[in-house]
């Protein structure tokens, strides 16, 4: 066993885990944060994307022990005080989902794109930056619209952005 100490969505957690525990398993099975999904389990689909120390990573391809002493934000950590994060609200507003399976990863990637590239994102940039996230329902059109709108909304709500 190995000891892992993390800050997840602002809360400190410590646990003894089998070293082969993936970060996504730790989040889902140990912490019951089931918003982070396992889609392909082969680093392709991006349903498992979380932020580790401020960077978007695939939690199915990261060991929990590799994240030791790190800061993790999952989809559950975005909403503040019962209010959806602007990116979550934009996905709802623009119907950026159908079955919803890829949505947590899409939103975590989208927030990361805005953190890196700012709020003014053209369609080409959004499509290129989402290449590590697969959606099998929508054809991406409404996801791209939602990301563009969510990015603008994040700029208008700086407090929520900083809260991450």
């Amino acid at each position: 066993m190995a000891t892992v100490s993390l800050t997840v969505n602002g809360q400190s957690v410590t646990a003894d885990v089998d070293p082969r525990t993936l970060l996504v398993q730790f989040l889902r099975d140990n912490l019951r944060l089931t918003g982070t999904h396992v889609g392909c389990d082969t680093s392709q689909c991006g349903a498992c994307v979380v932020h580790l120390n401020g960077e978007a990573v695939k939690s199915c391809t990261t060991l929990a022990v590799q994240a030791d002493a790190g800061v993790v934000t999952t989809i559950e950590g975005l909403a503040q005080g019962g209010e959806l994060h602007p990116m979550q609200a934009a996905f709802r507003e623009h119907h950026g989902l159908q079955c919803g399976y890829c949505t947590p990863g899409m939103i975590m990637s989208a927030v990361d794109i805005v953190n890196r590239k700012g709020p003014d994102l053209d369609e080409q940039t959004i499509r290129a930056e989402l290449e590590g996230n697969l959606c099998r329902c929508t054809g991406y059109h409404n996801i791209v619209k939602a990301v563009a709108a969510g990015a603008q909304a994040m700029a208008e709500a700086p407090l929520q952005q900083a809260a991450e």
């Binding site: 190995a2 070293p19 082969r20 680093s43 960077e55 990573v57 695939k58 391809t61 060991l63 590590g132």
Partner: protein, 268 residues
Amino acid sequence: MYAFDYHRPTSARQAADLASQFEDMKFLAGGHTLLPTMKMRLAGPTNLVDLGQIAELRGIERSGDTLSIGAMTKHAEVAHSADVRQAIPALAELAEVIGDPHVRNRGTMGGSVANNDPSADYPAACLALNATIVTDRREIAADDFFQGIFTTALDEGEIITRIAFPVPSQAAYAKFRNPASRYALVGVFVARFADGVRMAVTGAGSNGVFRMPEMEQALAQNFAPEALNGIAAPEDEMNSDIHADAAYRAHLVGVMTRRAVQAAASRS
């Protein structure tokens, strides 16, 4: 994934000491090849030595005509580094088309080079730029380092610490990506130096990354796409699989080399 014991040294020396104690061990760099391989149970090391907390293996330094990059530097760090962009922009551009953004936030240069996947991007850059692979024991020229598919000059327990790239006058990387895997179906890195031209091809060769001296000599005479007319990649040395047969890959080598030369030549 099979069970293993996990170790997290904080210096290369500690990592080497740990490695020498275990018969069946693997170093863990970014983990974006090793962990999927372990999940598939194609690899099952009993000990994993994580290099992620070793500060001396990170960082990017420019010193004169050499750009030195720590083995644990992530693809995203290479892609966004002002030093890399200034010294060898082609290397930053290569890093920017590895995998996807999430992969680039975890995958490392040293991990990619040590693995020597026949479709990985960095081996082409190392070979074309005449890089030196620096380990905890010695310095290895790229020409001696890459020895065939998934095979390198590294000995058991030897750790890549840095990779030193001579800064070229002009360089470019042209990659034809497999749209599903993002690996190179064919990728060509071309580098022009004061004393000649080097190029290297990844993705195509049945024996891994390779140079084509005939193309290098022609480009040294005339650094332009038309210099390559009449020179073809040997079809019988190309990889052939469901994604592309050997003839197609051989053709693409010519196309991507011309594109790389064009892009490099247009750089001031």
